[in-house]
């Protein structure tokens, strides 16, 4: 270790609101929010909007109803702004990274320089990693040209605040209000960055939009904010996340994603969430407390969430759809896998307001090890939602005796013409199934992954092709050691 590394370069106490500073010390108050807003050169309205959210947040409580357990979070121990990482923040080399994580990268066939990026390795003299960055920058540039031709806007939300202020101001917080919940309020106050997408009327986005190609992906931070607006008659498919487990210094992640679909528009949002789940005892994993919601504002609009959740120590996440437009459609397809000490409380809310609105929920929960996996779903039909229909299918698969699966369906039906169907099942990977596979030459680890993939088929079908293949592989790696 070099001598300069031993000398603290930051103030260990005291508050710095100096605009030139690159990192804030831990703690949260109004001056921190003003600092973040100033740092991004935000307009007055947005600074005020953040401050208002902060005022709400201070009066709010963390939700306690989820079926998860964790030590209280000290919100004053978190630093709410940091510029690109300095060498002191991350591990200096892959040798300092959890060897389990490295093994996983190897299994997924991830090249070394990408492993370093994913594991957050910060090198004094970056070498190969530079190529990778250059690569993605050039890909992203061609990508942008093609999108611009179609009139599609796809940029960091911090940029959209300046380039498309009227859209951002109109829709930011329109789907997830500031006061929606504790974590969403916190996100409104301190959000770092994220994606903004606008698809003009009648445009079918010429390619799938992937966060992978977003230039500033490296530093969106723990309070990510995404806003997607699909104008009349448009279509977009958006992919979030990546199959490789991502390590992060920040334990708490509280993102907000808002989707808006106008008349006849369709948004397909697919996520592969694979944040670091912690070691075998759950130590060091990410808390993923996310608010995702879509509004089908226009008639015949459609929003579809597909998620594959395998990471995080704790997942708290309910991608939802508010069905306002007549004949609008909401879908939720989910695979949530927990192993070791992971805890997941995830599901959806389908809020039927418009007439003849339809929703489909297919949830597949897989629990292994000592993990706890809960499905929590709300289907609500309001008196205006005549002819509304919901179909929910919620299946749990248990691997081994130490895990738990729980289902919490909530149905609030206020319309006598609505039809709501709910089916649920719990099954186990049985010894006889494993023996059949083994007897045909397939070892237990492969057998479990094959059985689990079969269980998830209805959801994988909904994923874009390349994601589906990777998702299968990801389950296999995540389940390693699940059967003794």
């Amino acid at each position: 270790m070099a001598v300069e590394d031993l000398v603290p370069t930051e103030y260990s106490a005291g508050f710095v609101t100096d605009i030139e500073s690159e990192t804030l010390p831990p703690g949260l108050d109004e001056s921190v929010i003003r600092f973040i807003s100033a740092k991004k050169g935000e307009p007055e309205w947005l600074t005020e909007w953040r401050l208002q959210a902060f005022a709400h947040w201070q009066k709010m409580q963390e939700p306690l109803w989820a079926h998860v357990k964790f030590e209280p979070i000290d919100y004053n121990a978190i630093s709410y702004y940091s510029a690109p990482k300095s060498a002191a923040d991350g591990p200096g080399s892959l040798a300092e990274v959890d060897p389990e994580l490295l093994r996983t990268y190897e299994k997924l066939g991830i090249p070394l320089h990408e492993q370093e990026m994913l594991a957050g390795v910060v090198k004094e003299r970056p070498d190969v990693a530079v190529d990778a960055v250059f690569d993605s920058v050039s890909i992203a540039t061609t990508f942008r040209d093609k999108l611009a031709e179609a009139g599609v806007v796809f940029c960091p939300i911090s940029e959209a605040v300046h380039s498309h202020p009227e859209l951002v101001q109109k829709y930011l917080g329109s789907v997830v209000p500031q006061r929606d919940n504790f974590y969403a309020a916190l996100n409104c106050a301190v959000f770092s960055d994220g994606s903004f997408v606008y698809i003009p009327p009648g445009v079918r986005c010429p390619m799938e939009l992937s966060t992978y190609f977003r230039i500033n992906e490296q530093n969106t931070g723990q309070f990510e904010r995404t806003l997607i607006v699909a104008d009349k008659g448009s279509y977009v498919s958006y992919l979030e996340g990546c199959t490789a487990p991502m390590r992060d210094e920040n334990q708490l992640h509280a993102a907000v994603v808002e989707l808006v679909a106008l008349e006849d528009a369709e948004i397909k949002y697919s996520t592969v969430q694979n944040w670091y789940p912690g070691d075998k005892d759950g130590k060091g994993g990410i808390y993923n407390f996310v608010t995702k919601r879509g509004a089908c504002l226009g008639d015949r609009s459609k929003i579809s969430w597909t998620q594959v959740e395998t990471g995080s120590a704790i997942t708290w996440k309910y991608p939802s759809v508010v069905l306002r437009g007549a004949d609008s459609v909401g879908e939720f397809y989910s695979v949530a896998l927990t192993n070791n000490c992971q805890q997941a409380d995830t599901g959806t809310k389908m809020i039927h307001i418009g007439p003849n609105t339809r929703s489909t929920i297919i949830s597949k929960g897989i629990s292994a090890g000592r993990s706890q996996n809960s499905y929590r779903g709300l289907v609500r039909t309001s008196p205006t939602a005549s002819g509304a229909r919901n179909y929910t299918q919620c299946d749990s698969l248990l691997i081994g005796p130490g895990c738990g699966a729980h289902t919490f369906p909530y149905i609030e039906n206020r319309n006598t013409t609505a039809i709501i169907e709910h089916e649920a099942s719990t099954s186990k990977v049985s010894d006889d199934q494993l023996f059949l596979c083994q007897q045909r030459g397939i070892d237990t680890e492969k057998a479990v992954s094959m059985i689990v993939n079969g269980f998830c088929k209805d959801v994988f079908r909904e994923l874009p092709m390349e994601f589906a293949v990777e998702a299968g592989k990801l389950l296999e790696v995540s389940l390693e050691g699940a059967v003794g």
């Binding site: 049985s430 010894d431 006889d432 199934q433 023996f435 059949l436 596979c437 083994q438 007897q439 045909r440 030459g441 397939i442 070892d443 237990t444 492969k446 094959m450 059985i451 993939n453 079969g454 269980f455 998830c456 088929k457 209805d458």
Partner: protein, 248 residues
């Protein structure tokens, strides 16, 4: 060299002695039948041969293809050429039959260091075997045994047998629950499998099957031991007289 030799095999299940000193020798290319009353230990023998966990070999030896396999994992036994057609095939929902067959064949090939079968050739082979067994090709797309009728399940076992081409096929009551037509189809399949080297151990409760698949030898298993062995005519005697005269 014998393909299979079972010497003085004693096996406990849940602390209860089920096999009580069983002896059996199979030469390559032979077809033997094991008959016996319900609960005599036929499925136990089949499962032990296939290495199923939960069976405690207290004494004796199982020698397969020259190796003692008492402690061998089921997948290793399968890779060495042992196949078990299950009495009650289980379902694996969502895993298509085709996918399962491919995984099975790929793993067996990999274990032997052989090249992976070409996917197109593989599909052709599977379809033609399915046709021989009167199975609708649609059925290959369905989940393994998912919603299959009893007869379809048994024919599916024979399909796997014909595709995987093991050295030894242990058939556990493959005839039970089959009507005459299905029995003929299944028997034709097994007869096609027979060769100078391919060996069959056929477990059955009824001698009916032996009219279709003619065995070289018949053994009677009662209360965990082989109480009588003989030729084809032993089965007919059992049909006429039942098992009681042998077990008392």
């Amino acid at each position: 060299m014998s393909l299979l030799e079972v010497r003085n095999l004693e096996v406990d299940v849940d602390g209860k002695r089920i096999l009580k000193g069983l002896n059996l020798t199979l030469e390559p290319g032979s077809v033997h039948a094991i008959m016996g009353p319900n609960g005599s230990g036929k499925s136990t023998l089949a499962n032990v041969l296939a290495g199923k966990p939960g069976y405690d070999i207290v004494s004796g030896e199982v020698i397969f293809d020259g190796n003692v396999v008492n402690e061998t994992e089921p997948e290793a036994l399968a890779q060495a050429g042992l196949f078990l057609a299950f009495q009650y095939p289980v379902e694996i929902p969502g895993v298509s039959n085709m996918e399962f067959l491919k995984a099975s064949l790929d793993n067996l090939h990999a274990a032997r260091g052989d090249a992976q079968p070409n996917a197109v050739e593989f599909m052709k082979t599977v379809r033609s075997i399915a046709a021989e067994l009167d199975l609708n090709p649609e059925f290959l797309k369905r989940g393994v045994n998912e919603g299959f009728s009893g007869g379809e399940k048994k024919r599916n076992e024979i399909l796997q047998l014909l595709l995987l081409q093991p050295k030894l096929a242990v058939l556990d009551e493959t005839d039970s629950g089959l009507d005459i037509d299905a029995l003929q189809v299944v028997a034709d399949g097994v007869n096609r499998f027979r060769s100078d080297t391919n060996t069959v151990l056929m477990i059955t409760h009824y001698q009916r099957l032996l009219n279709y698949i003619v065995p070289d030898a018949v053994h009677v298993l009662a209360d965990g031991v082989i109480v009588k062995s003989g030729g084809r005519e032993l089965a007919e005697e059992l049909e006429a007289r039942g098992y009681a005269w042998l077990t008392n």
